[in-house]
Symmetry: C2
Subunit: 557 residues, 2 copies
Amino acid sequence: MSSERLIYLPLGGAGEIGMNAYVYGWGAPGKERLIVVDMGVTFPDMDTTPGVGLIFPDIAWLEERRDRIEAVFVTHAHEDHVGAVAHYHEKLGAPLVHARAFTANIARGKMADLGGDERAVHTADPWPETIAAGPFTVGFVPISHSIPETSGLVIDTPAGRLVHTGDFKLDPAPVVGEPWDPELWEKIAAPGIKALVCDSTNVFSPHEGRSESSLAPAITRLVQEARGMFVATTFASNIARVKTLAEAGQAAGRSVCLMGRAMRRMIEAGVETGVLRDFPRTIAPEDAAQIPRENLMLIVTGSQGERRAASAQLAQGKYNGIELKAGDTFLFSSKTIPGNERGVIRIMNQFSEKGVDVVDDSSGDYHVSGHANRPDLQTVHRLMGADVVIPMHGEHRHLREHAALAGQGGAQGMLAPNGTMVDLTGDHAQVAEYVETGRTYLDGTVQIGALDGIVRDRIRMALNGHLMINVILDEDDEPLGEPWCDLMGLPETGQSRVPLSEVIEADLDQFMGRAKARVLTDDDKIEEGLRRVARQTAQREIGKKPEVTVVISRLSG
Amino acid sequence: MSSERLIYLPLGGAGEIGMNAYVYGWGAPGKERLIVVDMGVTFPDMDTTPGVGLIFPDIAWLEERRDRIEAVFVTHAHEDHVGAVAHYHEKLGAPLVHARAFTANIARGKMADLGGDERAVHTADPWPETIAAGPFTVGFVPISHSIPETSGLVIDTPAGRLVHTGDFKLDPAPVVGEPWDPELWEKIAAPGIKALVCDSTNVFSPHEGRSESSLAPAITRLVQEARGMFVATTFASNIARVKTLAEAGQAAGRSVCLMGRAMRRMIEAGVETGVLRDFPRTIAPEDAAQIPRENLMLIVTGSQGERRAASAQLAQGKYNGIELKAGDTFLFSSKTIPGNERGVIRIMNQFSEKGVDVVDDSSGDYHVSGHANRPDLQTVHRLMGADVVIPMHGEHRHLREHAALAGQGGAQGMLAPNGTMVDLTGDHAQVAEYVETGRTYLDGTVQIGALDGIVRDRIRMALNGHLMINVILDEDDEPLGEPWCDLMGLPETGQSRVPLSEVIEADLDQFMGRAKARVLTDDDKIEEGLRRVARQTAQREIGKKPEVTVVISRLSG
């Protein structure tokens, strides 16, 4: 039974779009040496995670096996791939983190922000260079996506070659960075690929993807024809798009200004690492207000309607001394990620109220996706000719559809959502075991578990309001004065048109008055009784049962 | 100055899609006799209105003038047009509510639910019948939409004829109810139209709208080809769609079952009012589980991912004894309203986990909109030839775009968001004044103002957690024991790895110990001090500043 095996285990990213974290292992069962591919975050929302800062995959499984981790490999610098590297570095046993120059630059910045050791991040050269990590030999193979130096990984193992695509699209002309190179990938596939672990994001998009470079003409024309100020937003990390936008501004004779910390950080990393060349000259945000509006082009963060980003600030009023007005144009060179619609629409309407013309991607002319569409996935399946295709980077519905697509192409399509440990050793991939997975929240500066009940309590207070009850008992276990009520997030008056707190206090007082000694000596019984009475009264008065906290003070007895 | 005038005033629905409420008036300024068109609701969301049940327009302006209200006219039975009629009926002075039979049936049900007087709802016959209401004569003119007996209103006034389209599309074959009848509308336009108050929802949709009847072939084919159980969801009020789906089920030899209270209520109203004929025979939900799955078709509520609706229940597990599994098909014969994406996607993934094939509207084959698209709006502008076009039923960006479109057609396009009172008396429409508008929440059974701070407090607790502090002072204003802390929605431990409440209590105790008599005799000063200390300590420990409630108990002095 203790023969060695090759395993694949997604801890995040397979069953959601976000917080990617994949593990590969080789060795005797329970003694596999491990490598980790990507360690990303996902973003909170008010519905399920109010007040949370970031969401991480739960890596308890890895933490327990930290002594077996050889290294971490990061495919590219998007937050859902690199965002948790620094937060988790210590928990993983401080392994070496390998990434190509641009990604490493971003990862080092994150390490520095958290006071971690930047030297743990190692800059990797692209294929044919490789990195030995225990039983694995890993190469970073350039592939096109929507951020520079994205790489697929070639992972050579004692059981054969694996390809982990990372996020990708097939772009022959990506404006910045390396194009999709089918010949290179054909060579990589030549020895035979055991398993292809493959991006699933756009499996439902029926048409071939479009190149990043196809956007320049339409964007250039739009900027050319604008009269007032021209403002564009896009994903800060899409350096190619920012370049296309900036060049359109330059061609129209406008001064170009980047606004938003994330965007300036990305451009800086691009320049520092030599990825980005010939970027048009830009002016500083503090100088923008001096430029006549018809000569100004802003490129700003906040394409997803984020409340604190530059777009939202400009929609609300002045930002860096600049205020948009009738005759100005605002371009969303981006798509709205599902769930962000309300925020984006809010901004669009705020601009509309100012008389600003908003242009979005509904025409299809101003944005292309960074992921491979359905026919592109089929192209890659064919090119790689892997025995097994394991879809990743997708919600469950994407993985399932992608597995079926792979099956149609003749491969074994393997549905392996988070926690599914797949044994890849033999001819046929099979499930080895199921591992418990989940989420961890960064709440303020503290990491809390998704199931700790903390966020659940916050959601309940948001839905139901919070009622606080105070009672004091004297040395003889007799109530001292009446119970006292405080409300937060509840109407002041209900059905009987007198203050809700008074109505509840009267009922609580009655309860205390009637309570027998065996209740009054027992805090749990008092609490239970007061809670029940308070909730009943509230239900009658306002049609809601609030969350209740009871505080019982006993004078030293 | 006191010559009579004709006014239009939107109190809701112009600047949002939802809670429609429009007012028309004629008379001397400040003495106009008024009619109200529609009185709808909008739905809450976790981002801005957690825990709220329904959102109503703020009708303070109308309430103050209730003695001048002649009547209410309801164009159709969608919640955003009829949902607040019963809640507001008394506040409006209990006016007559006019609606066509189907809409009246729904409105009476709502009155009954709230214990109101059903007899206040009057069933109106369609045009050429009219209703006199003070200086106005109002006719209900059939128009196609996505619910039966939708009507545009012809409002004859001493200053000329107005047309209020209500929600509409140009459908020559709407499956249920009256088709779009251009000749009828041409006759109505013949005397000349002073102002066209017009639906703006789909002004950004560039192609002509499609007929409801165009869907039957594709839906019929899909049901025909399904192997396991077939489940479809759509908007409960779209009776035509429900009929198309039911007929497809019948044609495939399946027993048809409607699930979800709202859907059964709508079909019932359709049958009761004679609007719906020849609806296929259905089986009761409690009998569905006995039918072999390949012979069963469910039509269910919950197309928007609503947590308690039938779709969500089926996605989670058993519902009415039925559980979906691999081989079954689930059809969304609906579009996802912006903001509902997360809920809908959650359901899709839950079905995917069960192996159910989910079909959505991405192909365009299984849903058509109920609103007029851009070229349809142009058709109506031309046909009506109104002097003024006032866009309504849209967000600000829709109204603005629609006004511009009307201007291109030669009319005066008038941008009039909520609160803009327009004077229509003269040749040129102009703004008469701005009226304060807003929202009112139904929270439990209580109506609260959007600006009361109640919901704001709930949002703050959801984001920041809630910390409760208790101190007791004795007769001499000296602290009795130490301050006491309770946490809700906050991590139990922070940076120093001891319970957060203990760390805070220690700092609070120190504050109390140092406080001078002039602080200890002043509840406000104690509260301010404790709050400040607690928030500082929390910020240091957990990186968050919670909401704080301080309760000070003084033993009777």
